[in-house]
Point group: C2
Chain length 312, copies 2
């Protein structure tokens, strides 16, 4: 029987699914591999990986017979793909099944930010509605100009939803895509200058570090809102914090951050930022689908069939 190692913060449901499928060895983090002796480690052929702690050259070196890393999640930026390639290790992810949830949360966070819903709720709960009258007027959402950074699977789902809010859709992608009349920008700075809402939906990893750069942020205006559901690394976070703190941009709605969950505490002090704890794909239905796809990739590997969603 193929020995499977499972690393990450799995839920009870995920653990039970993995147990009945593969009876794997479970570890919370890659660093705990030191607790396994060399002979145990050498038996491991497949890794069910979950989480955002780095799995790089050193970690791969600890599993000399590893042939598969099945990642739980669409973003596999925690895994060093070059290092995996050098060892001919196949990597899989769980795309598509989470597109709806992540797009839903992107739109939801933007609505919550623009319509100041947390503040309006607090206004009612605190008694101000009763004693001081209406909550202050905020800002019309429908009909705005939305800029999608990265028109991949998730970016397109976001754009489709925002189009139903009568938004004028602009997007950046490496090449122009077939769209229902959306405006293509070959340059992210030009995109930022054209829109009210900049929604970041590029993949993470080394190629997109600070993709939304200080310069891009400077092209936004004082009423602009940044939404990020990709990875904290895709935005120059220091430049964004400065712009938020000085009113150079209007606000942000963020599900992802550098150094999660130890995020920069300055985000928590900003009234114009909606913070969500990286819960884009965090629904029972979608996490079950992601877990099933991770297991299906491991099954395919064990049976010698084609991997379902390989990334390398």
């Amino acid at each position: 029987m193929t020995v499977v190692l499972a690393i990450g913060p799995y839920s009870e449901r995920d653990i039970s699914g993995l147990k009945s499928a593969f009876d794997p060895i479970f570890l919370d983090t890659p660093s705990q591999m030191h607790e396994l002796d060399a002979s145990e480690r050498s038996k491991i052929k497949a890794l069910a990986f979950k989480g955002h702690t780095s799995f790089g050259v050193n970690e791969i070196a600890m599993l000399p017979n590893l042939n598969l890393i099945a990642n739980f999640g669409v973003g596999y930026d925690a895994i060093d793909i070059s290092a995996a390639n050098e060892r001919n290790i196949k990597v899989t992810n769980t795309p598509n099944v989470l597109n709806d949830d992540v797009a839903d949360l992107a739109v939801a966070m933007l609505l919550m930010q623009v319509r100041e819903m947390a503040q309006a709720s607090e206004w009612a709960h605190s008694g101000n509605w009763k004693t001081a009258g209406e909550y202050r007027l905020n800002r019309k959402f429908s009909g705005g100009r939305a800029g999608i950074v990265g028109l991949g699977r998730i970016g397109r789902e976001i754009a489709n939803r925002l189009a139903a809010f009568k938004m004028d859709i602009h997007y950046y992608a490496r090449t122009e895509k077939e769209t229902p009349g959306w405006t293509y920008h070959s340059d992210v700075t030009s995109l930022a200058a054209a829109v009210d809402y900049l929604i970041v939906a590029v993949v993470g990893g080394p190629d997109t570090i600070n993709f939304v750069s200080r310069e891009v942020i400077a092209a936004l205006g004082p009423r602009s809102i940044i939404v990020n559901i990709s990875r904290g690394s895709t935005i120059d976070e220091e430049a964004m914090l400065e712009a938020l703190e000085t009113g150079k941009i209007g606000g942000a709605a963020l599900d992802v951050f550098l150094n999660e969950p130890n995020i920069n505490p300055r985000f928590y002090s900003l009234p114009n930022v909606v913070v969500q704890p990286h819960q884009g794909s965090g629904t029972v239905e979608t996490r079950d689908a992601m877990a099933a796809l991770q297991r299906d990739n491991i099954h395919a590997f064990i049976q010698g069939s084609n991997l379902i969603t390989p990334v390398n």
Copy 2:
């Protein structure tokens, strides 16, 4: 010059717009009409009305030469239309210009409720994300079954938005409407039994009191969510509170309540309720458009032209 009376909690912008157009007498509430003497009151021909305090037979009797009530808002349930009709007083409202905002807030509140965004935000802010890990999984939004109660202008805007979230759209209306394949229910209880999310978008007023009755609420299931952006009066509030408190329904997302802003405090104790302080149309852009439409109706009346948006 036609003497105009303006009653209601107008914003600075609205006051300034009304002043330069008509130089009206301003009062905060209908009860303050007692402060005007009979000769002043008899000169008043047009009323710019805003708010939710009742304007009925007795109030109308205080203005013997009133010919127009121009309501600020689409819902004119505070105004006794029969009493106005008996005196041949024309009533206007401000439809359409607020459809987008109200529909936006309906979708936003439902997203916030289903994805538990207030709780997830609190999880991050409180430090739990850092110390206790991920926020709990919630529930997939896209692909659900939505039931719109009242497929008028606002109801249709809500349905169009939810369709972009791949929802299966059901609706109740007095008669079947032309739709892109949405499912018609001639009965609200049948609608409630068929859906996950019941969104109330009927007009307020005497004809729709407790339209979402105890029986309709009983037809919903333990995962159902009620959204209300119409009027507090359209739902049997006591039955809804009981269902929320006992888990017979899953939650609610409410912008409108009985006795606003002195709403039933039980709503504030329920973790499964998103409360907004009646801010559906509360954006700068839309309130400006509503104010302009109210003024345009008064202008039309003064000039003897056809009223733009009459309701009787």
